[in-house]
Structure formats: C-alpha cells, structure tokens
Amino acid sequence: MSGEELLTVGALHAGYGAAPVLFGVDLAVREGEIVSLVGSNGAGKTTLLRAISRTIPARGVLRFAGEDLLPLSPEGAFSRGLVQVPEGRQLFGRMSVEENLAMGAHRRRDGRVKASFERVYALFPKLAERRRQLAGNMSGGEQQMCAMARALMADPRLLVVDEMSLGLAPVIVDLLLAVLRDIRAQGVTVLLVEQDVFAAFEVADRAYVMETGRVVREGPVTELAHDPAVRDAYLGAAE
C-alpha cells in the first residue's frame, strides 16, 4: 500500500539560535502511509515539525514529493500540500465551525472547495451538526475534530498531526484514530506525532522513536511494540 517517498528527512540538524536540538534526524514517509513519530517531552518532535514546516532554519536533506523544501517559506511548504494540525488546535475561537473550515481553504482557488466541505462533514458528522456553533464553545474532542477538518480543507498531500490525543478522553481518541484511517483511505498520507505511544501504534504502519534529538528506533509498529527497549521506556512492563 505504500508507494513513493513523499517526505524525506536526512541527517537533519536544527535548533534555536545557538542551541541545537536535532542531531542528524533521518525519517521517511511514503505515499499512503500513516507514520508515527513518538518520544517523550523534549525529544525534539515539535522542533522537527517546525523544521519540516519551514518555520525554523535547518541543515541537511529535506524533500517533499521530490522537491527540496529547505529554500521554501512556510507558505511555500503549505501551498505544496504539507499541512499541519497544530498542537493545541489553534482554532479561531470566535468564528463558527464553518468559518474555521473555510479558513483552511483560504488559499485555494480551485472550484472544489464545496466538495471538500461535503467530504469533511462526511468524515466528521458531528461538525456538520455544529457548523453554526462558535468553535471556542465546543468540547476538546470536537475542537480537535474541527482542527483536523480545517487542515483537510486545505487539500493536503501530507497531513501532519501534532499531539492529537493530548487532553482527550480515550473514547474520543479512538474515534479520531478511526478517522485517521478514513483519511488515509482517501489518499492522504499522515504523519502523526504523539506522546501517547499506545494511541500512535494502534493506527500507524511504521513508527520512529525519538530521544534527545535523535531517532533511536524505527520500524513497523508490530515490531516496535515488541522491542524491549521501547516497551520498557514507553509501553510499561505490564503485559
């Protein structure tokens, strides 16, 4: 099911000013995959995302669909279909759900925006019910749905989801994971960045484990779930 490499990260170094955070990260996401990036607080996940979305300078190899990302601006990366669902959702709280979704399609000039609305409302029927409600007045789970739907409105090739499960009830997380599978089935590749390894491994094909700015383990989640080091560090010893 996985095809060409969509996102290629090679020996990537990045940081803030004089403080390096990433020390030669290698990572690849192939078309049609759900890849998960896990690691504890401070492992460098968010920094890697910032480098990928071109909001901080970086050194190394960074390619998207064969094109060099490094010289691009954040808008440039976005317009090529590399779209983020930011940590903390970052909704427009005093705008309706529908207006939030419309902002996702703000830069689109093709005539298919209406079709995208129907598509995301089919993925998130709850949002269709609440389309006139102010985004800021919804529950955390609904806000996360709204943030993901808004990103889908940008018609992404690669959807990067940062800390999707943070602060949400397990039953909501399960629902969102199911939606990620549906999104992938519609041809959108997904990079899921998570602290919750259980949630991430449930849906991903492959995963990367980061520690202190390096990738320390990688492979199919079926293998990683049985890797003693990963189990001790992230999954707990309980069987």
Partner: protein, 285 residues
C-alpha cells in the same frame, strides 16, 4: 420646535461622527493600534476632496470615492512600510509612532496647504427642505446617509467576504492564520488602508459641513477615540450608533449649557460609560 430641530441636527452630525470613528475602531480592533494620527488622515481626506473640487471642478460627492482610493493607497503604504514595525508590539510603541505621525502630517499639511480656513462649498451647500416643521439640510442628510452606507459596506465585508474572514481570523489567532496561508503583513496593510479610506470619506464630508485647517486632526482623533470606545470595536453599526449618541449629547449640551461645553460632554460621557459599564465595549474585535 427648537428641541426636535436640535435633536435632528445632533443625529445627522452624529452619523458623520460615527463615520470618523469607524476607521479608528477597525484599526484598533484588528491591529491593536490606537491610531493617534487618525484625525490627521481625516484632515488629509478633507483636503483631497477640497482640491479635487476646487481644482478639477469635480462635484465633492463624486470626489469622495477618488479621495477614498487615494487614502487607501496612502494607508496601505503607511502600514506596509512603517506601522508593520510596531504591530502587535507594546501599546506605548504604537502610541508614540502614531503620535509622531500625527505631528508630521499636520505640519506637512500646514506647509503644503497653509493654515487658511477652507470650506468645500458646492452650489447646493446651503440647500435645505422642510419636513413637519423641521429644516433638513441636504448636505448633512447626505453625509448621514453615506455614513450609514459605508458602515453597512464595512459590516458586509467583515462578516461575509473571504477578506473579512481572514481579517477576523488573523485578529483572533495569528499563529493559525499564518499556518493556513494568510500573509499578515499584507492583510494588516489592507486593513489600515480601509481605515484610512473611511477616514478620507469622513474628511471630505467634514469639509462640506465645517471648516478645514491642518489642525483639526487632534480634536477629531479624540472624538473618534471616545466614540470607538462607546460603540465598541466589533460592530460597525454600533460605532455609528455611538457617533449619533455623542452627536445628540453635544447638541443638547450646546442648547442647554452653551456651545463651549460640547467637548466636556463628549469626554464626560466617556468617563461615565467606563464607570457604569466598563470593559465589554472595548473588548473583542
């Protein structure tokens, strides 16, 4: 019939006051800049219409859109080249830079236009008609109508157009707006341009009902400030309503207390409203 006439005058003048404050409220609400040079922009708009009328012979009402376009361009460049440096910085920075701008514009205007009093005087400037015993001045009625029409246009743009949606989104969450491809620099410039264009329209109308000098800016900034707070920053119609409120209050003060008390009443209202009903009016764009 003195009181109804005074009330009518107050309402008509108040519409123009509301239009003056509209651009200031927009810029304040979206960019968080309290633009102390707003009155100077009104003054420049007034001179633009004055010269279009006296030099080219264009009817002053027809000159309004031309002046608005010119003021939009001026406001756009001002924001792009200068004010984007301080947008979203500390309030004091924005006050300092716009105060400096006010001084510069005022004295450049004095240099260019001299300190003479000028009035935009089309042939129909004294025309009026009577309704139910009240005298309705044509120019003031037209100014009132234009103020309402521009407020309605602004409301429509903000609430219904993609541009307005992007403006509101950026004022609510800059990070997310950037994430989805909004270029804040140009959006701020367009917003300030709209504010300057509204100031330009207000200036042209002001020049038809009153006198233009290079020094009218400071007082008009103060008046706009009061009305923006009374009307709130979120709804253009409330700003017009705030203007009408101040216009009526000033007219009544002029009638019962004497004309020198009009400004006391305007600012007295501001203090009173902030005491009785603080904050909700100044929150939220």
């Amino acid at each position: 019939m003195v009181l109804p006439q005074i009330l009518l005058n107050g309402v008509l003048l108040g519409g123009l006051y509301g239009l003056m404050a509209l651009g200031m409220a927009l810029v304040w609400g979206v960019l968080n800049i309290v633009n102390l040079s707003h009155g100077a922009l009104i003054m420049l708009g007034g001179y633009a219409v004055y010269f279009l009328f006296t030099v080219t012979g264009l009817d002053p009402f027809a000159a309004l859109p031309v002046a608005m376009a010119a003021m939009f361009a001026f406001g756009y460049l001002l924001q792009r080249r200068l004010l984007n440096l301080v947008v979203r910085s500390a309030l004091l920075n924005t006050l300092l830079i716009t105060f400096g701008l006010d001084v510069v514009l005022t004295y450049l205007a004095q240099l260019a236009f001299t300190a003479d009093f000028r009035t935009i005087n089309p042939t129909y400037s004294g025309a009026n008609f009577a309704v139910a015993g009240l005298t309705v001045p044509v120019v003031r009625l037209a100014a009132f109508g234009i103020a309402i029409a521009l407020a309605a246009t602004l409301w429509f743009v903000l609430a219904r157009s993609p541009l307005g949606r992007a403006i509101r989104a950026t004022s609510q969450n800059l990070t997310a707006a950037r994430l989805y491809g909004v270029d804040p620099g140009s959006l701020y410039a367009v917003t300030f341009g709209i504010g300057a264009a509204l100031a330009g329209a207000a200036g042209g109308l002001y020049g038809m009902v009153s006198n233009l000098t290079p020094y009218i800016g400071a007082e008009l900034t103060a008046k706009s400030f009061v009305i923006a707070i009374i009307g709130g920053l979120s709804n253009p119609f409330n700003v017009i309503l705030g203007g009408v409120f101040v216009g009526v209050a000033e007219s009544l003060a002029a009638l019962y207390l004497g004309p020198t008390f009009t400004n006391v009443v305007g600012f007295g209202l501001l203090v009173g409203i902030l005491v009785v009903r603080p904050s909700p009016s100044i929150r939220a764009a």
